[in-house]
């Protein structure tokens, strides 16, 4: 078997050295009742590469590939172009098959890349520090709420109605067990975000306000007034950014007063991957650094005085504090963080701004074209690369009809908020640099037909 190097002669020699007559002897501690005598039935035997490729390839071919059709889905996962060198570099064996950098002397590659990553994320988000990544944006969001509880010693979090419903659902699930109280609400199909509701909801028992920027409907609102109100009441502002490319065009949440900024980094370097693996980004201001969850990479020197990097402030983590850890996280999203940082390095600020501009322009073009369809309105006054349409009828069947015609035309609010009648005509459309004008035409034509 191609992955198992031991030959029968090797096994004989090793068993002799051990003093056992067969491999089965080594399983003497397993009770008879639990020991399988042969291989598990009902499962096939080993297969060569050709066969595996054929089997899995046939499953792959049953899916509609985003890059092969007009594609306009977003809502927390975005299709951007990853430069060819990103994927090549992350597949270098020394990155792909290395471990968490617990032996820093032989892991400076990983550690330096993480240090650069942390710096990029902190600057992008407008914060003092960032960690070495988390599983994804949704779990990073929940960890931020938990951190706010630790910092403020209060247990009531106010979640904006513009926060991604999956992120809300994760928070609600976890809060049931931790006893945190969450103030949540459904979004409305209007141009304004729910900033007014948030301002009114913040009081002396609030630990944090969680605001997505741009929000689930693509709306962009100034976070500064919310930050001010939160701080006046001793609460923290947590900003959630699901589309980091937006920050190439709009102000960072840190600049506007956010204490903690979390989000999803998938847009850069990672690809759609049907929902995972993704990369959670987590940044905060200096005064909170010891309360931050996740791994942290820090600078130091070695015995010869050379600069080097190590994982640091580990005493917060599970393997040391055990019951008192700041979280139970063990893994970061190492390889995805690497992909993110390589893509960001290739872009640079110049490239990121250009990328953002391109996204925004194509989105405005698309919006302009779609409102020409009778009955279709854009509800947003502001948006970056994602906006919400109000269709003249329920959006979910329209999305299915479009898919039948080979157009992936956005995400219906009926899919994200099942049962919310006030939202059922809503369709969220994302437009990135990968969208061509032919795609826009095709989408518009198909949508018009589906609404006729």
């Amino acid at each position: 078997m191609r992955y198992l190097p031991l030959a029968p002669a090797d096994r004989q020699a090793m068993l002799a050295a051990i003093g056992a007559s067969s491999v089965e002897d080594l399983f003497v501690d397993v009770p008879e009742a639990a020991r399988l005598t042969g291989r598990i039935r009902g499962l096939p035997d080993h297969a060569g590469e050709l066969s595996v490729e054929r089997q899995l390839g046939s499953l792959a071919r049953r899916n509609m590939v985003a890059g092969e059709v007009p594609f306009f889905l977003g809502c927390g996962a975005y299709r951007h172009h990853n430069p060819a060198s990103v994927d090549h570099l992350i597949q270098r064996g020394e990155f792909l098959t290395s471990y968490t950098p617990y032996q820093p002397e032989i892991a400076q590659g990983t550690l330096q890349a993480l240090f650069e990553f942390q710096t990029q994320v902190a600057r992008l988000y407008g914060c003092d520090v960032a960690n070495a990544s988390m599983y994804d944006g949704s779990t990073a969001c929940w960890e931020a709420v938990v951190m706010a509880r630790r910092v403020t010693r209060r247990g009531k979090a106010v979640l904006s109605s513009g926060l991604h419903p999956h992120y809300v659902s994760v928070c609600e699930t976890m809060a049931r067990f931790t006893g945190d109280v969450l103030d949540v609400a459904l979004p409305e199909l209007v141009a304004e975000t729910d900033a007014e509701r948030l301002l009114a909801a913040i009081d002396d028992e609030t630990s944090c306000v969680v605001v997505q920027y741009p929000d689930i409907l693509g709306r962009i609102a100034d976070l500064a007034p919310i930050a001010e109100r939160a701080h006046a009441k001793g609460a923290l502002l947590i900003a959630v950014v699901t589309e980091p490319v937006a920050l190439g065009a709009i102000r960072s949440p840190g600049e506007m007063g956010a204490d903690i900024v979390v989000g999803e980094g998938q847009s850069l370097g990672v690809g759609l991957n049907f929902g995972g693996p993704y990369v959670g980004l987590f940044a905060c201001q200096d005064k909170f650094v010891r309360q931050m969850p996740g791994r942290l990479c820090g600078e130091t020197v070695d015995a010869e005085g050379k600069r080097g990097f190590v994982l640091t402030l580990s005493t917060r983590e599970q393997h040391i504090r055990r019951e008192k850890a700041t979280s139970n996280i063990c893994t970061n999203s190492g390889l995805c963080a690497l992909a993110f940082t390589i893509h960001m390095t290739l872009l640079g600020e110049t490239g990121l701004r250009k990328l953002a501009e391109t996204n925004h322009f194509l989105a405005t073009e698309t919006a302009e074209r779609l409102v020409e369809i009778p009955g279709v309105e854009v509800i947003n006054d502001s948006f970056f690369n994602e906006f919400t349409l109000r269709l003249p009828k329920e959006a979910r069947p329209v999305v299915r009809a479009l898919a039948d015609k080979g157009v992936l035309g956005g995400v219906s609010l009926g899919r994200l908020y099942p049962g919310a009648e006030a939202l059922e005509n809503g369709l969220v459309v994302a437009v990135t640099e990968t969208v061509s004008r032919i795609d826009i035409q095709a989408f518009a034509a198909a949508l018009e037909e589906a609404l006729a």
């Binding site: 899995l56 100034d222 759609l272 063990c330 405005t364």
Partner: protein, 530 residues
């Protein structure tokens, strides 16, 4: 003769050199600055195509400043971000140089106990990148991703069959996340029967995530002592079980590399007391294809796809931690999950849960799990098949026992006399002289060309060293490792103080972790800002 004047020295010359260089490089060992130090604030390695030629007879490509500004709600970025950019050649060189400072499985044996650092097959990478898997969005309509759902279901079927359990939650993003999933399901189950309990019992030898997860799930944690033979003390456990104990978290094989022979009795005792058994599946590689955890009476177990099923460690992640459940816990499993209905696959999310999965404890993550790891694990599993997987555990255990027996004369093996180990061998630093400890052996091993084994874990053994070779090591590789370990161990027992200076050949010498923790520098600050 015709004189050819190309003569030059063609064998080593007799000369001395200091080893100093101008660049600080040492031939192929190259130093690399931070991207922030390269002075490329305006650089970029990405070209954007000029606006595409095809017009749609609409407003043209002109950049209308006012229009642009208005649509962003007046919140355009004004301040520079501070993100340098490099051309492609510079970028490739930067990361290639960095990569060469890393040890990796591709380079050599990686003996980290409980991490299962096996070879990562490249077929996995090819499969994961098939556009039909890599370039699909999680929220696409179900009809357009039936193949993706089918793959998730296929992997789920294999995991359930290999473990002999009833169902599996695929969404947890890593092992620790899976542990949390298991404990939350247990808590939900107990609350559903009106019997919420406050305590979780965890062996002293457990990995730190176990008590951390239990605390995160709202439980008070108490330790279960171990016997002199390194196993759970069944009598002590039975004495402690009671109406306040919700669950017991067991690792089997345990963190000392030993199988818990009384596991069935443990599960029976726990169930009799009205509690549930959580099994940490980090060590599944020892028993895959030979033992089904379901036959041992467990209720929930997370599986680390990045350990047993070869998905790459990637310098720290991403992982994937599906959790198999017993029948008792299945109703409480989290959303979303894939279900076959007739000849179609459906994704059971919040809206569809109500019909037949109303007691789910909720959602743990956005979207549905680590698809990129599912495809890789599936490629690995199909490649091995039932026969191959059985061989995996056999060879993994054989390799670990070989190392144990070949080294136990020179390194203290606390449980060496109590029978065979499983897939990992445990040693301690007993007998080291001159004030040397495990860390000195580990750093000496780096100079020998190996990543150290797991150190100081489990906590129950002084100076613990946990060695897990895995099944993808040849006998020659094992023999070389054994030779290196023997050499460094003998130096440690002789009190060889030069080990305190190790490693001397690595890209960096020992690093000052005290300084890093006292004066944390977590982001780059240019000298004038510092």
């Amino acid at each position: 003769m015709s004189m050819n004047r190309e003569g030059r020295p063609t064998r080593p010359q007799d000369a001395e050199a200091s080893g100093e260089t101008f660049t600080g490089n040492r031939a192929l060992m190259l130093e690399e600055p931070l991207i922030f130090e390269m002075g490329e604030e305006n650089g970029t390695g990405v070209d954007f195509d000029e606006r595409q030629e095809e017009t749609i007879g609409h407003r043209g490509f002109e950049h209308d400043e006012d229009f642009y500004r208005d649509r962003l709600g007046g919140l355009q970025r004004r301040a520079p971000i501070g993100l340098p950019g490099l051309s492609e050649p510079q970028t490739v060189r930067h990361y290639t140089r960095l990569s060469r400072q890393n040890y990796a499985i591709d380079l050599g044996l990686f003996p980290l106990g409980s991490c299962t650092m096996k070879h990562n097959p490249r077929l996995n990478e090819k499969v994961a990148r098939m556009p039909g898997f890599a370039d699909i969005h999680p929220l696409q309509p179900a009809d357009t991703v039936q193949g993706a759902y089918a793959l998730i279901d296929m992997l789920a079927h294999w995991l359930v069959t290999l473990t002999g359990m009833h169902s599996v939650a695929m969404s947890p993003k890593a092992g620790a996340h899976g542990e949390l999933c298991g404990l939350l399901a247990i808590r939900s189950a107990l609350e559903a029967r009106g019997d919420a309990r406050a305590v979780v019992l965890v062996p002293e030898s457990a990995h730190g995530t176990n008590p951390a997860t239990a605390a995160f799930a709202g439980y008070r944690v108490e330790n279960i002592p171990a016997t002199a033979r390194g196993r759970v003390d069944l009598e002590a456990l039975k004495a402690r079980l009671g109406p306040d104990v919700a669950a017991v978290m067991i690792t089997n094989p345990n963190t000392c590399g030993l199988f818990e022979p009384e596991m069935i009795a443990i599960s029976e005792a726990v169930h009799a007391a009205g509690a549930l058994v959580y099994c940490d599946g980090a060590n599944f590689n020892a028993i895959v294809g030979r033992v089904r955890p379901g036959d041992l009476g467990i209720d929930a177990m997370h599986i680390n796809l990045h350990k047993t099923f070869s998905t790459p460690h990637g310098g720290g992640g991403p992982g994937s931690g599906p959790v198999v459940f017993s029948e008792a816990l299945t109703p409480f499993a989290p959303l979303p999950f894939v279900e076959k209905q007739g000849d179609r696959y459906e994704l059971i999310e919040e809206e569809t849960a109500g019909e037949h999965h109303g007691r789910t404890f909720g959602r743990m993550t956005a979207f549905h799990g680590q698809m990129g790891m599912f495809t890789r694990a599936m490629s690995y599993i199909l490649s091995h098949g039932a026969d191959g997987l059985r061989q995996v555990s056999g060879d993994a255990v054989l390799n670990a026992n070989y190392i144990l027996r070949e080294l136990e004369d020179v390194l203290d093996a606390p449980f060496g006399a109590s029978g065979p180990c499983m897939h990992e061998a445990l040693f301690s630093d007993k007998g080291f002289a001159g004030g040397l400890t495990t860390i000195d052996l580990a750093k000496g091993l780096i100079d020998e060309g190996f990543h150290p084994m797991t150190m100081y874990f489990p906590l129950v053994v002084h100076g613990a060293m946990l060695v897990e070779p895995t099944e993808t090591e040849s006998k020659a590789a094992l023999d070389q490792f054994i030779g290196a370990m023997r050499s460094v161990a003998e130096r440690a027992k002789a009190g060889d103080q030069s080990l305190k200076a190790a490693p001397i050949h690595a890209p960096r010498r020992r690093l000052d972790e005290t300084l890093a923790a006292r004066r944390p520098i977590l982001v780059y600050k240019a000298p004038e800002q510092g």
